[in-house]
């Protein structure tokens, strides 16, 4: 059993970006789309449209299709317009990035936070705490969570803020996989002398966690977080795609893709732009996460 390669997290990130072209490309993609999400208002102001205003003049009155070739792409509407409503697709995609990033990152924060706390408690405290946690993680992993989330999205009243619901639900169901990995790491760390020393000196479990365990968990935690963002972003998009995610008119890539189903034969551009954006974010985080994993610990993440 080899101990993980000791290397500081920032140094590892730098070396990944310097060596691994795919990880670098992934990072650039994520950063670009992240900036788009942050500056969504500025970008739509430059283009001159918002994602909510209906505009019949951009449509072909006979068919309801966007006027002009390729979904109505023009200097006026950079990504064309939505069929039937004439809403600007660029504004929808750009503001959809905001929805995606907000829910994806916040849900990741919730699930990683819960997973680290629960996993560390299981590994460090041991005994019945450990048994209960391991067992509940098994129950959770056996939970039909997609079906459950769809059903939940249907029964929760519309007054409840949707973004918050999605963050809590998606985040909450994500803790078991993180907790398992953190627990395994803590079990090894617990036997190391610096943790034993801290315990002998009378440090409480919380102090040991904060000062001894957590600094040694940053590497795996960062890798787990990076690799779990695409799943969360995808889940939000999937739920919105199925009509139980964020509610209209809040822009969402998943909902736009769902709306594009009915138009795919006549207006493929309507599918292309939100689809590419979603693919870009997912791919970017995956590429970066894979690179980080290889750099921080070549052995980590492989199951026996």
């Amino acid at each position: 059993m080899s101990t993980p390669v000791a290397r500081s997290v920032p140094a590892a990130i730098r070396s990944v970006l310097a060596r691994d072209r795919w990880a670098l490309a992934g990072t650039v993609t994520v950063v670009v789309i992240g900036l788009v999400a942050i500056f969504a208002d500025v970008l739509t102001a430059i283009e001159g449209h918002d994602p909510y205003t209906y505009d019949a003049s951009a449509l072909d009155p006979a068919s309801g299709l966007p006027a002009g070739p390729f979904g109505g792409v023009s200097g006026e509407h950079w990504f064309g317009v939505e069929p039937l409503t004439g809403r600007d697709l660029f504004a929808i995609v750009v503001h959809g990035a905001r929805t995606s990033f907000l829910i994806g990152l916040a849900a990741t924060l919730v699930s990683i936070g819960l997973g680290v706390l629960i996993g560390a408690a299981a590994g460090y405290l041991g005994g019945w705490v450990d048994r209960v946690i391991v067992w509940s993680a098994d129950v959770f992993l056996g939970f039909p969570y997609l079906v459950f989330m769809i059903a939940l999205g249907a029964v929760v009243p519309v007054e409840f803020p949707r973004a918050l619901l999605l963050i809590v639900v998606i985040g909450f169901f994500g803790w078991p996989s993180t907790a398992r990995i953190v627990r395994a790491q803590v079990l090894t760390l617990k036997e190391r002398n610096f943790v034993k020393a801290a315990r002998t000196l009378g440090a409480s479990p919380w102090e040991v966690f904060r000062t001894e365990l957590l600094p040694n968990l940053w590497g795996p935690v960062l890798v787990m977080a990076t690799l779990s963002v695409p799943g969360k972003v995808g889940l939000e998009a999937a739920l919105s795609f199925l009509g139980v995610g964020v509610l209209p008119p809040t822009p969402s890539w998943g909902r736009s893709i769902s709306a594009a189903i009915d138009w795919v034969a006549v207006d493929p551009a309507f599918l292309l732009f939100p689809g590419l954006a979603l693919f870009g974010v997912t791919w970017g985080f995956n590429a970066l996460g894979d690179g980080l994993r290889d750099a921080l610990d070549p052995k980590w993440g492989r199951k026996p």
Binding site: P144, L146, G275
Partner: protein, 331 residues
């Protein structure tokens, strides 16, 4: 091979997990302010009619009693209302959909063949494809084949099923017109049309899933091929085909079986997204219909059924370990 004691603990554990899933689902769905009786009572809804509807459906009882009644119904069946208008739901009763006027279990049974056709067909395809490509990529590590396979698997992991599905429909269905889009024929009616109609969904689902298997198989294979027992096998003159096919592959199969079992289990509970994209009338479709119709009994039934499949899949995976790996044989 498997002791009775182990089997009993295992079945007991499965039942407990299902009970917890049922309890959580029940509590969440029934505590959320959404009243099925109000929706069923018709317009104008007088307070008397509402009370009657509640009583008929069993919603007049406190929630914990409703839960116990629901559990009891699984073993003994349930009767809603009394007299001439009574509806009987035979055991095992997983609820009655007042919206569709049907036993929830019957509704699930009607849709299950579609989802099974979709999921099992796709699983066969993705395992063969994923493991095959993974093994060849590992044997020819760093070749162009390996690179293309890895690149394609990264795309497969990152592209959502519905995106790949829609592109497939667009290109293969509409532009090239080689495969049919959006019609399901039951197997019993015409096996050839059944398979032909499912070709595109199978391929799309398999592409999305195979990516994980390529990565998994490749990593595992590379690791296994450098082990001592492979060297020993080669040294004693075993043909390379046998070394790869019998000695190495057996080690690769364990994680593959785990992943397949779990993914298939959750997919059988409703390939919701794929079914929506290809308009297949399966379990996922039933779930979405229940969502739009606010059909609580059906939602509960679908969730429980999905949970049941996941739990069963977990158990099957555990049992298959013993067959594949003598070291993990259960005592």
């Amino acid at each position: 091979m498997i002791s009775l004691r182990y089997a009993a603990t295992r079945v007991g554990g499965m039942a407990l997990v299902l009970l917890i899933v049922a309890f959580c689902t029940f509590v969440v769905f029934y505590l959320v302010p959404s009243d099925p009786a109000l929706m069923a009572c018709g317009k104008p809804c007088t307070p008397e009619n509402l009370a009657l509807a509640r009583e008929f459906m069993g919603f007049d009882e406190p929630w914990w009693q409703q839960f116990l009644t629901f559990l009891g119904g699984i073993f003994t069946g349930r009767t809603f209302g009394s007299g001439a208008t009574a509806i009987h739901c035979t055991a095992p009763c997983f609820g009655y959909s007042f919206r569709q006027n049907a036993d929830v279990l019957d509704l699930i049974g009607d849709r299950l063949p579609v989802t099974v056709s979709l999921a099992v067909g796709a699983a066969v395809l993705w395992v063969v494809l994923g493991v095959g490509v993974g093994v060849f990529a590992a044997l020819r590590k760093d070749s162009w084949f390996d690179r293309v396979a890895l690149g394609a698997s990264v795309i497969g992991v990152s592209a959502p099923v519905y995106l790949v599905g829609l592109l497939g429909i667009l290109v293969l269905g509409f532009k090239l017109d080689v495969v049919p889009v959006g019609n399901y024929t039951p197997f019993s009616e015409d096996p050839v049309r059944w398979a032909w109609g499912l070709v595109l969904p199978w391929c799309v689902l398999a592409f999305a899933h195979a990516a994980h298997y390529v990565k998994l198989t490749r990593t595992q294979m590379i690791e296994t091929m450098s082990e001592d027992f492979i060297r020993t096998a080669r040294a004693k003159g075993v043909a390379e085909r046998t070394v790869v096919g019998k000695h190495a592959l057996r080690n690769v199969l364990l994680p593959v079986v785990t992943l397949t079992g779990l993914e298939l289990g959750s997919l059988l509970g409703g390939a919701v997204i794929t079914e929506r994209v290809f308009s297949l009338p399966g379990l996922g479709n039933l779930l979405i219909e229940a969502v739009h119709g606010r059909d609580l009994p059906t939602l509960l039934g679908c969730t429980l059924f999905a949970g049941f499949l996941v739990v069963v899949a977990n158990a099957v995976v555990d049992l298959s370990y013993g067959v594949l790996d003598p070291r993990a044989r259960l005592t």
